[in-house]
Symmetry: C2
Amino acid sequence: MNSENSIRIDADRLWRSLMEMARIGATDKGGVCRLAMTDLDQVGRNVLERWCREIGCSHSLDLAGNLFIRRAGADDGLPAVMTGSHLDSQPTGGRFDGVYGVLAGLEVLRTLVEHGVTTRAPLELAVWNNEEGSRFSPPMMGSGAYAGVFELDWVYALEDADGVTVREELKRLEWIGEGLGDREVDAYFEAHIEQGPILENEQTTIGVVTGAQGQRWYELDVYGQEAHAGPTPMPLRKDALVCTAGMIQAVNRIGLDNAPDACATCGLIRVVPGSRNVIPGHVWTSIDTRHPDDRVLEDMEGAMRREFDAIADRYGCRYDLSVFWVSPATPFDRECVDLVRKGAAQGGYSHRDMISGAGHDAVYMARKVPTAMIFVPCEGGISHNESENADPEDLAAGCQVLLDSMLARAGVA
Amino acid sequence: MNSENSIRIDADRLWRSLMEMARIGATDKGGVCRLAMTDLDQVGRNVLERWCREIGCSHSLDLAGNLFIRRAGADDGLPAVMTGSHLDSQPTGGRFDGVYGVLAGLEVLRTLVEHGVTTRAPLELAVWNNEEGSRFSPPMMGSGAYAGVFELDWVYALEDADGVTVREELKRLEWIGEGLGDREVDAYFEAHIEQGPILENEQTTIGVVTGAQGQRWYELDVYGQEAHAGPTPMPLRKDALVCTAGMIQAVNRIGLDNAPDACATCGLIRVVPGSRNVIPGHVWTSIDTRHPDDRVLEDMEGAMRREFDAIADRYGCRYDLSVFWVSPATPFDRECVDLVRKGAAQGGYSHRDMISGAGHDAVYMARKVPTAMIFVPCEGGISHNESENADPEDLAAGCQVLLDSMLARAGVA
């Protein structure tokens, strides 16, 4: 199949469905607030289910409140080719994060129905429950439960800020279905806005996502000597903040040394005692490092410790670097990634291989089945923000690549 | 007069009076909590007044609640030679900060009485009200009101955390006397623990304080681009915290470049949005710079702005540096300082010229009358702390220098 004989998704229909879904929980600033397992989240699913019934698809729920839309294949006993994402949003979220992946999947199904195409293998569209983790932490809860990363009872017991549990909300919404992680799935594809600036910066339409970064998060404590900022001469100081400043710059340098794939970020800092005229005696900082290769992450940690040793010596301080959280690098399936790359080429879209820096449902699904992702640009790389925006043409291109990848994997009857 | 024929203060009596005063508001950890204008502060004054009556001295109050003990001179119409400090403490304060200056003054008076020495000019011992500024801010309230730095009505209206005003407390304690800033004073000497590590580090007994540092406090805002720590490649970042870290190191470097007299400290830092996996978009920092020469402070500000320009450029950020508070450098009186230096030499004490890094009542008094200070070492340079400590021999040495300086200034009848 090539671009000449490929069936085409309907860009306008995709955009209209995105805009209609964006009305559910719309905020004054043009964003969306549709928190997981709220009434608004239910309304979003109701709309989607109605659209799916209109094209003859069935739907079902699993024990974690994940929703699956299914279109039968010619050989319906084959494992399904699945796509999906999530409908829940951040409290001040945008119109595309998650929703795009779900409605691109819907548009794939609509296009096939419209053109009377039946795939050999069945197709499924998953709506993962609580990807954002805003109301109930952790994020990617539903796909994590599906992939066996989280125990179901542990998930059920999670509470929101008002003490309401996931179990209570699932019961209230009648979202508790059957089974968990036991669907027959051949491959999983997920379309998503990039949530970063690379594609826009390079004026590239399609990101062929080859995997998700490994992440190592640390906590850094630096201890110096608290003292009066007036009578304590500079050469006698053990200033924990000056020492930490050196370490923050070292973290940034180590990230740059391992560019373009590495990231290294200090996002939080706290100073003790925290007074204008007291030399800080203790500083606490968070460090977030990411790279697609876990061995590079190990090397980066080694480089940090070597640099921190030297910096602590220089300022007469001592430090403690402890690992806070680790998520191993997740390479996606070579064949599925190849289908995405071919789909992009076939559509005539500019494209480049890239790594997902953020977490997605696909990262957990990759632990169970061959997986790939398709990224499209978002304006200014901005996401988790009411001003999140994307170009309709780019969204259509990603959806077309999703269609062609799924068709290639599922086969045409 | 030289060390052979000088009358000697009584080191044991000084120590006993310090330890007796330390019982008033004593804390479990060996410190003192005797907040300004509390009942405990009154008890401290009661004890002092009793001791002064025992040696025939009179006492009086001014409109700001400052207490003055007076010993008549042979030519009592001459302006007085004054010493003093404060009896109020920090909430978790020590046994020496302030109290030492008051009780060293008492010991001077006791020694003169004991030896039957009458000075030509009268002597006065001032107990300045609310030097610490812990309960009622600002610090050095009483001496500032005396020196005309603060308006009396403004001082009266100051409130503590419970909404109690200075006026109410002064009335309750019957501390409102007569006059303000109108005493006839020839010179002012103040003995104090150093509150820094220089004397102890150099094993020097007496600090001949030649003036107080000028202080310039700033607020620094650095603005970058808030973004997701995962999908934002290192080379595309505008990380406000990495930029600020460079500026913090520049501040420290500029302090060192102007050592030994300069100080430069960042004591506070806040990051926006403050999340482990978000690149900081805005960082706020406080900067405290000090130097005995205001022109050097200006040069330091110039150096900061030059370095900040370059650093902001390097990281694609912008910044705003605003002056928060300025206190000009206060050189002490050359003749008075010389008397202290001679007193130290005459006593055979190791001594060095130094600058006061912290604020003291003497800094405000220097605006009105010829002033000098005498510093003695404190353990580890630690002050404003219940573990504050000092060596009885050092305290006695400082008191002896105070006696000899005051005698030299007032003359012996």
